[in-house]
């Protein structure tokens, strides 16, 4: 074997395992997901080509359409509230950590601690805390004479309770991404602003905010993708059907239920499931791409 030939074999050997795994378990399934959306299924087998029928049914026809749009609205709420509350708080905490006051390292470790825990642990923990009678939250409210609602059992509070749990779980993540962005701003810029008499409020809103634009881009995109793939927390806290009465049903739960069936019915419907997956995929990809363009332009202007 010539040296060049031997090197070619060596390169192929290095690339082969990763390429095979990626092809089998990422590229092929992704292409297949698009194909399946155009088929009617008979169990595990794609039985007949049905064109756009699956899409039409999940978007416009009963009973699917009502479920689809309800779930979609809930995802929009999840995204909006997390953006404002979770990420707003994260920005504030990042600013506080930027001061490098005594103990700031310990605070960094603390704020990130829930992030490393499984959503299953966090979900069950807060489900116990939110129990109407014996949960920590209502027991604490009782100490000040308030009878708290059955948080997860009431349609008006269930989704909010799960969003709150998500914020508790994940807040440290955007906080430390913001902090990393703030730490990249040059000391001179901050000093100059301070000498010009900028207060902390001005510093936070007029100087730092535009300069952490790259971090904001990441946080917005990740929060968006996370909110529209939301599954584990609502599954653990509210169950597969988004109880009570669908008040916590989101696209992730609805997609899973459609594809793999309810625990009770056990019916699989891969055709409609695939159509939902494709719609979610396209929606997430298109909106992320558009948002990325807008946010990147904002980064340059800053």
């Amino acid at each position: 074997m010539t040296a060049a030939r031997r090197r070619a074999v060596w390169i192929a050997f290095l690339l082969a395992p990763a390429l095979v795994v990626m092809t089998l378990f990422v590229a092929w399934p992704l292409l297949a997901a698009f194909r399946y959306a155009f088929y009617g299924f008979n169990g595990l087998a794609a039985a007949q080509f049905v064109g756009l029928q699956n899409f039409r049914e999940v978007l416009t026809e009963a009973p699917f359409a009502a479920w689809t749009w309800r779930a979609f609205q809930h995802n929009v709420i999840v995204f909006t509230v997390l953006m404002v509350a979770q990420n707003g708080l994260a920005y504030l905490i990042a600013f506080a950590l930027l001061k490098t006051l005594p103990g700031h390292r310990v605070h960094q470790v603390i704020v990130f601690l829930p992030v490393v825990l499984s959503a299953v642990i966090v979900g069950f923990l807060w489900k116990l805390f939110l129990h109407p009678l014996f949960g920590l939250v209502n027991q604490a409210l009782l100490l000040v004479g308030i009878h708290g609602p059955p948080w997860l059992g009431d349609e008006s509070t269930a989704l909010g309770s799960i969003i709150f749990t998500n914020a508790w779980h994940w807040m440290g993540f955007p906080a430390l991404i913001f902090l990393a962005g703030m730490q990249r701003i040059s000391r001179e810029t901050l000093e100059a602003a301070r000498i010009d008499g900028a207060t902390d409020r001005v510093l936070m809103t007029r100087i730092i905010w535009p300069l952490v634009a790259p971090s904001t881009t990441i946080v917005v995109i990740l929060t968006f993708i996370g909110s529209f793939n939301w599954f584990e927390l609502p599954y653990v806290m509210a169950g597969l059907s988004g109880s009570p009465g669908g008040a916590t049903d989101v696209l992730g739960l609805y997609f899973y239920r459609t594809a793999f069936g309810n625990v009770s019915s056990g019916l699989q419907d891969f055709g409609h499931g695939s159509a939902l997956a494709v719609l979610m995929f396209v929606f997430i990809a298109v909106v992320s791409a558009l948002a990325l363009r807008v946010l990147r332009r904002r980064e340059i202007e800053a």
Binding site: F13, L15, L117, F134, G172, F173, I225
Partner: protein, 276 residues
């Protein structure tokens, strides 16, 4: 005056951080304390310290449930997946970073495009694919999917890092007659240790914590991972809160301990994964 204003502001910031620390830690402290309580104690005095620090509840979790089994499965699956991601990912990254070959940028792009794919949405074809390969309800199937999920970011990070290594080391070793494999394993890779740690942690945490893929792929109880097993166990013991809190505490313990020891690497690994 400025001094005093500054100090007041610092006090305010410290207060904010202290409140935040309480909000983050108090639920976890209650979880641990409740693990030592009986039901009666839990309901009567939820805020008090436990009457005794006996491991009755923890012992029941350990002995009566498949907890140990779940823990073992999670360890096995995570370790195998990380090994696969690091070995395959580094091999591919090394080829892309250190050798010019036709189609190199296309190969790199193929891996990069994987970064954008939420693999959860391809769960139906994955399920069919694993079924056809006889890998449904096996730990091997789970491991392969996790490797596929981790490869794009591993290739991305490792390629970026391996590109920065100077070429002189490589050349001088070659002149001394070292084989390509020898150059890679004993000269280049030892230098890549920091990037390997980042890549490992960045992938290990989501795999260790994952619930979605086991939920779809694994049905045999003896093969379930910890987060998945936890849902079984929470259902079985739903009237025995002390045991539930003990189960949650035990499940949270391993990763929390590792995190406290390696917090710097965890934070760097998980946030750098995002700042790609």
């Amino acid at each position: 005056m400025v001094e005093r204003g500054e100090r007041a502001k610092h006090g305010l910031i410290q207060l904010l951080l202290a409140i935040n620390a309480v909000v983050m830690l108090y639920p976890l402290v209650v979880m641990v304390l409740s693990a030592f309580k009986s039901n009666a104690e839990l309901f009567a005095s939820p805020f008090a310290l436990p009457e005794s620090f006996a491991f009755t509840n923890a012992a029941r979790v350990w002995n009566e449930t498949s907890f140990v089994r779940y823990l073992l499965n999670s360890t096995l699956v995570t370790a195998a997946a990380i090994a696969g991601i690091l070995v395959f990912g580094t091999m591919a990254a090394y080829a892309i970073a250190r050798y010019p070959f036709p189609g190199r940028s296309a190969v790199f792009l193929f891996f990069l495009s994987g970064l954008m794919v939420p693999l959860k949405l391809a769960i139906i074809p994955l399920f069919i694919q694993l079924g056809a390969m006889g890998l449904i309800d096996t730990r091997a199937g789970l491991v392969l999917v996790y490797i596929a999920m981790g490869l794009p970011s591993a290739v991305f990070i490792m390629t970026g890092f391996l590109r920065t290594l100077p070429g002189e080391l490589e050349e001088s070793a070659r002149i001394e007659g070292a084989s390509e494999a020898r150059v890679m394993l004993s000269i280049m890779l030892p230098l890549a240790r920091p990037a390997l740690v980042i890549t490992g942690i960045q992938n290990a945490v989501p795999i260790w914590n994952d619930f979605f893929f086991p939920l779809v792929f694994i049905t045999t109880d003896a093969l379930k991972t910890l987060p998945q097993g936890l849902t079984v166990f929470m259902g079985e013991y739903n009237t025995d809160w002390g045991v539930l809190f003990a189960g949650l505490t035990l499940a949270a313990l391993p990763i929390t301990l590792v995190y406290i020891v390696l917090s710097r690497q965890f934070i760097a690994g998980m946030t750098q994964g995002a700042i790609k």
